[in-house]
């Protein structure tokens, strides 16, 4: 699904990623953990195509497609989805209209007709139910005045609607209370399957109790310094990140 080879990236001339290798296969859940400033969010931005970051070396492939020359929207059309840590507010554009615009933009890129309104509404209802979102929420302006939990739930709702091949969840657990966390995690679990993959980026192990990873990678100083299974996350929870720094 996602292949990253020796990826180096910088922002404003400052190197942030210093040679990342990662291979995520369809059907897998990977967790990327690490202390603040280790490059976690940069990695997700670079995969999604944020132009603020310059890739200086290495390769980024999705299903064999080289992403290097692709814009963020083209990457989305290939099936990359990024759940933002801080989703953007769009006053005056309702959640429903926004999702409609996004879905039809993706369909257009695939050479498909717009989704019929009745199909769209049916799908919205189905996915809203999955994330325990009520219909009033759908007619509110996107993210405007949403609580932290509502914003994150809305991110996963968009993921559910767009059905991406690769979902990157950037600090999706931050700002969530335990009930909201369970709803969000439950949503993600129901959406994952044989043909898609999920990369969970998190500072804490907490979310991984609910979205159980197949693999855990520890990022430090722009490099993956250790990889393992879910037990590694528990170890990090117990021991903190200091011992990792010694591995670097």
């Amino acid at each position: 699904m996602l292949t990253i080879e020796n990826l180096h990236a910088q922002v404003d001339g400052k190197a942030i990623l210093n040679g990342i290798d990662l291979d995520v296969k369809a059907g897998e859940v990977h967790a990327i953990m690490g202390p603040n400033g280790s490059g976690k969010s940069t990695l997700s931005s670079v995969i999604a195509g944020n132009e603020d970051y310059e890739v200086t070396q290495g390769k980024l492939l999705l299903k064999g497609n080289d992403l290097a020359e692709l814009d963020a929207e083209e990457r989305a059309h290939l099936g990359i989805f990024l759940s933002f840590q801080y989703p953007v507010e769009i006053p005056g554009v309702t959640v429903t209209n926004f999702i409609k615009t996004a879905i039809n933009a993706n369909r257009k890129a695939q050479g498909l007709e717009e989704m019929p309104a009745s199909d769209l509404l049916k799908k919205i209802r189905e996915k809203a139910k999955l994330l325990e979102i009520d219909s009033k929420f759908l007619s509110r302006s996107l993210n405007e005045g949403f609580s932290g939990g509502e914003k994150k739930r809305n991110e996963i709702f968009q993921m559910a609607m767009l059905e991406p091949a690769l979902s990157i969840l950037d600090e999706t657990d931050s700002g969530l209370d335990i009930d909201a966390l369970k709803i969000v995690a439950n949503g993600v679990n129901k959406l994952k399957g044989k043909h898609n993959a999920v990369v969970v980026i998190t500072h804490y192990q907490r979310l991984l109790d609910y979205i159980v990873p197949d693999f855990v990678h520890v990022l430090f100083d722009g490099k993956i310094v250790k990889s393992g299974t879910k037990e590694l996350a528990h170890e990090l929870e117990k021991k903190g990140y200091d011992w990792i720094k010694e591995l670097a």
Binding site: A48, G49, N50, E51, D52, D71, A72, E73, R75, A76, H77, I80, F81, L82, F84, P87, V88, E89, I90, P91, G92, V93, N97, F98, K100, T101, A102, N104, A105, N106, A109, E114, S141, Q158, L162
Partner: protein, 438 residues
């Protein structure tokens, strides 16, 4: 001959059709003197520092259309907000078009300034209201006054609600090579009454047109005036809009200005308070491209205690377009407990686009809440990135952001069909199909 000279010498011809013994005519003659003395404003005038009329007045314009233009309804229908159900006062090249209009004298007056200025039954009203708030020393207003003859006249008697909105539309047919128009409107809304008005200037060809318009609006006690200016003309049409509003106690006057197209637009919008507990609302959305130039010059003069004013202007500028916002708030010493707010936010989409924003607060009272905020920035790249990660292409993403940016002004439009129309115009202007009706 310079155009200024032409304006002055043509006055004799204009006078030929006028009743020279009339007091209105004295007003005109005095106004012409003011214009003759002051001439057109130049960049040396502080209030015109960022807007030059030079390129306009270098040309020659016809002042009186030679022949009456005829326009088919089907050709202009699209500029009407509604097919039916509005009062309409429609002019073609400054001349009233009875065929396209729908006026009334049934309970309220929606008719012509020419009638109000000449018929004896309006004499008292004209003596009370005509040219009473328009400042005598403003040269362009004086120029309009000197040629004041035609426009819309609206009178809403007390305790009544105009059931239908009023559309005032000035078409220019292109019959003249170049045309200079000077409509004069008067709106009087008596005690505890309400009206909604939509004003529009529209060229039908690319022959240059300059409109120097003056509108006086009187909002009596507890009355509500909801006024919309739709400025979406061709790139060959220019507009100098001078609107003067006086409000009495507990009244609300609201003016929305949508400046979406034209060569040069200058909006002089002035609010004066004559009582307490007044609310004044000034909102605007400006979306420009090419070399278009729009200058919003506002004044709210708080001269009574316990009044409130809100100004909110959003501007989006691409290519080499230019925006100016000059927002003046004046709070007299007596005007305690004033709440006066002003916002002007601008987004520059291209390197060559410019905005000059100048808040001017002069506050002489000590117990007031006044605030102003002005921003000039680029489009939020982070927000664009967010939209693009959802598969929305950059152009559409920019359009969505633009729409969102202007949204709180659009939200306050009270007429649903007008709101829809403006949203449609904005979507077309941004050149996108967002897949839903804005």
């Amino acid at each position: 001959m310079e155009f200024k000279e032409k304006l002055i010498s043509s006055y004799l011809a204009f006078e030929e059709d006028m009743d020279l013994s009339d007091s209105v005519h004295d007003t005109r003659a005095e106004a012409l003197k003011v214009f003759e003395e002051k001439g057109f404003p130049t960049k040396r005038d502080e209030a015109w520092k960022y807007t030059s009329l030079d390129s306009l007045i270098r040309e020659d314009y016809a002042l009186f259309p030679k022949s009456e233009a005829s326009i088919e309804l089907k050709d202009v229908k699209k500029y009407f907000l509604y097919d039916t159900d509005t009062y309409k006062v429609i002019f073609i090249d400054g001349v009233y078009s009875p065929f396209l209009s729908n006026t009334t004298h049934d309970g309220l007056d929606v008719c012509l300034m020419s009638a109000a200025l000449t018929k004896p039954k309006y004499r008292d009203l004209i003596n009370t209201y005509f040219n009473k708030i328009a400042p005598g020393d403003d040269s362009l207003t004086a120029l309009n006054t000197s040629y004041a003859k035609e426009g819309a006249y609206v009178y809403i008697p007390k305790n009544s609600v105009a059931e239908k909105p009023i559309e005032i539309i000035h078409f220019s047919s292109g019959n003249e090579e170049a045309l200079w128009l000077q409509p004069r409107n008067l709106v009087v809304v008596d005690k505890n009454s309400q009206v909604q008005i939509i004003e529009r200037h529209q060229s039908l060809t690319e022959h240059p047109v300059v409109t120097n318009s003056v509108t006086e609006i009187y909002v009596h006690q507890e009355a509500f005036v909801d006024y919309y200016k739709l400025q979406n003309d061709l790139p060959t049409a220019s507009l100098i809009d001078n609107t003067y509003i006086t409000q009495e106690k507990k009244s609300h006057a609201s003016v929305h200005t949508f400046a979406l197209g034209g060569k040069l637009i200058r909006n002089n919008l002035r609010f004066y308070h004559k009582g307490e507990h007044i609310l004044s609302t000034l909102k605007g959305v400006t979306i420009l491209e090419g070399k278009q130039h729009v200058d919003h010059s506002t004044l709210v003069h708080h001269s009574q205690p316990n009044c409130e004013s809100h100004q909110d202007y959003k501007g989006i500028f691409s290519e080499r377009s230019e925006g100016v916002f000059n927002g003046q708030i004046l709070v007299d010493k007596i005007a305690q407990k004033t709440n006066a707010f002003q916002q002007n936010n601008n987004v520059l989409l291209d390197d060559k686009a410019t905005v000059n924003s100048k808040p001017q607060l002069e506050i002489f009272a000590d117990d007031v809440k006044c605030s102003h905020g002005c921003t000039i920035g680029q489009m939020d790249e982070e927000a664009l990135f967010y939209l693009r990660t959802r598969g929305i292409p950059k152009k559409e993403a920019k359009a969505l952001m633009t729409y969102a940016f202007a949204n709180n002004v659009l939200e306050s439009v009270q007429l649903p069909s007008l709101k829809k129309r403006i949203n449609g115009q904005i979507a077309r202007k941004l050149g996108v199909n967002l897949g839903f009706e804005l």
